[in-house]
Symmetry: C2
Subunit: 338 residues, 2 copies
């Protein structure tokens, strides 16, 4: 199968590195797997016979490649390459999901399987995109959109087919969790902790995306739709950020064996993101930039998953989604697309 | 497909209950699924046309069933029923794995898929049984043998194909975790906490199985073999139990933000079960009867799973294993056995 990576940046390089170092494993799923293209905001590379992923490594590895077409668009790449797999990794845009949404839509309509980290696109058009994928008989996998390396979607899809998810609680934003953890352990104020987070490069360009809970709300929408079959829109999420959390409140919580965390809560009734008291001994209660997801199901009752919510570990989710596509295609024996 | 449940007791009733309440879901995987038999230590029931699982519920529901054959053996049931699926749930015997080992071996050699909760059998003959299943082209699934409802084997098998597991740490025994949690939070001594555990029905008939780490060692063997491809025998596990853990030691640990937990550790070099200092803030550090498993992998780096390690929630693992068998059989289109 032929794959292209759209939005080749930090995660794209990580994925190329994994493909390069685990090429034999990939070939064991599909001996004919090829990476035939990649694009970034400046242009794209297209190589009909495939490129070695290692050629794209290093800073600007893509843009400096001899085959790089300066000024070409990602859609142009899709049209020229007609790949069976599109990995969409453009930056998340929580306002309207673009340009990721257009890329994913285009890829699905071409009959390509899609693996994406683009939570903006999924948040805004979850059911449209899932419907399009079903219609075309292709896979749309998005493990990396929520809680980075934590494989919650594949866990529910592959390992909990018999369980019904009744409720989800999650710490889904690493930046606010870092800030609240610093307030708890170092007893510093919100502004000081935010400054630290900025200095460590943990905040988005617009810190409000994290601080005011927009990022967590997007993830809650995807979880609610994907794991509980809801049809929730971002505007329907009750959302309160952490900027109002005082050191005094954190100290009081600590005295009673609790702390304050920004919790995404998806219940039968509503979807909410807000600061909540959490017992320090609760499995959900993780610190630093870790993310956690607590599932309540009818049979297993409670399952908690904890792992890295962002950073290069997210490549695990992308790479495993890619292998899932290769495995399913092998099982199916033939592809529904050209 | 036809299934029988061998060793129909607490978990068997739980599985029958799940089958009964989720019959439509089961039928969506295989419209011809039938439960054609079940056995306990006193005899068996065989019904060629299938029984409704609800007929076996209630205390002694199996033995009181009009079709129950008093004195018949489980092997006799397997021979008469020739099922495509055998669910083996006889009590764990950590000395030699019997009678579960004989049942599983017999079932695999008949060409039946096997779903089992029998960690004794798996501990003693992991590679023999896996080899037999591969030879016969059938599935051998054992999600419930380690950490009850926590789907660690299916997670690695289905969701982490691209990751290599480098190390595993686990709290795998609920009884000792209950005892150590009581010592930590209530500051009571080991004997008092053990007495409580006994009163709450949390100990095995022979408490040494839990207390001295035999149970955790069995689980470590299965994890090491299944998730890291090791060929570890139970006798090779370095094992130290919790009976030597003093309240004084727990108190000292607590003062420095730690506690003492019975940790199973599976590294590149060796497999060990022993009491260890664990930071209270570590994701692995769960309390009460909860179990946790911390995986270190090359891509995701760290993933922790937490859930119920025993009790009726374990039915989740059994039921999901069963659905996996039905799904795979459907994908394969035909069965390798009669």
């Amino acid at each position: 199968m032929d794959a292209v990576i759209v939005g080749f940046g930090f995660l794209g390089r990580g994925l190329a590195e994994a493909l390069s170092s685990k090429w034999e494993l990939v070939a064991s799923f599909d001996p004919e797997f090829r990476l035939v293209g990649a694009s970034n905001s400046r242009g794209y590379l297209f190589a009909k016979q495939g490129v070695r992923p290692s050629e794209l490594l290093g800073l600007d590895g893509l843009s400096r490649h001899p085959l790089f077409v300066d000024g070409g668009s990602s859609i142009e790449l899709l049209e020229r390459a007609r790949p069976q797999i599109v990995v969409e990794l453009t930056p998340t845009n929580i306002v309207d999901g673009e340009p990721g949404l257009t890329h994913i839509r285009h890829a699905l309509r071409m009959g390509a399987h899609v693996v994406t980290a683009n939570k903006g696109a999924l948040t805004h058009a979850y059911w449209e995109l899932v419907g399009e994928a079903e219609k075309m008989g292709v896979l749309l996998l998005y493990e990396s959109t929520v809680a980075g390396a934590v494989p919650v979607f594949s866990l529910v899809r592959e390992c909990l087919r018999g369980d019904r998810v009744k409720k989800i609680l999650g710490i889904l934003n690493g930046t606010t969790n870092y800030i609240l953890s610093r307030m708890h352990f170092e007893e510093i104020g919100f502004e000081a902790a935010l400054k630290e987070a900025k200095e460590r490069g943990l905040t988005e360009r617009d810190p409000a995306v994290d601080i005011e809970g927009h990022d967590a709300a997007c993830k809650a929408v995807i979880l609610a739709n994907a794991l509980m079959g809801k049809r929730v829109k971002l505007s329907e999420v009750k959302r309160k950020g952490v900027s109002g959390v005082s050191l005094e409140a954190v100290r009081l919580a600590k005295k009673s064996g609790h702390t304050i965390k920004l919790i995404a809560s998806i219940g039968e009734e509503e979807v909410e993101v807000s600061p909540r008291l959490v017992p320090l001994n609760h499995p959900l209660c993780v610190h630093g930039t870790l993310n956690s997801i607590h599932l309540e199901t009818d049979l297993a009752e409670q399952l908690t998953l904890i792992g890295h919510g962002a950073g290069k570990q997210t490549v695990s989710a992308l790479f495993n989604d890619l292998l899932t596509v290769l495995k399913r295609a092998k099982q199916a024996g033939s592809f529904t697309h050209k």
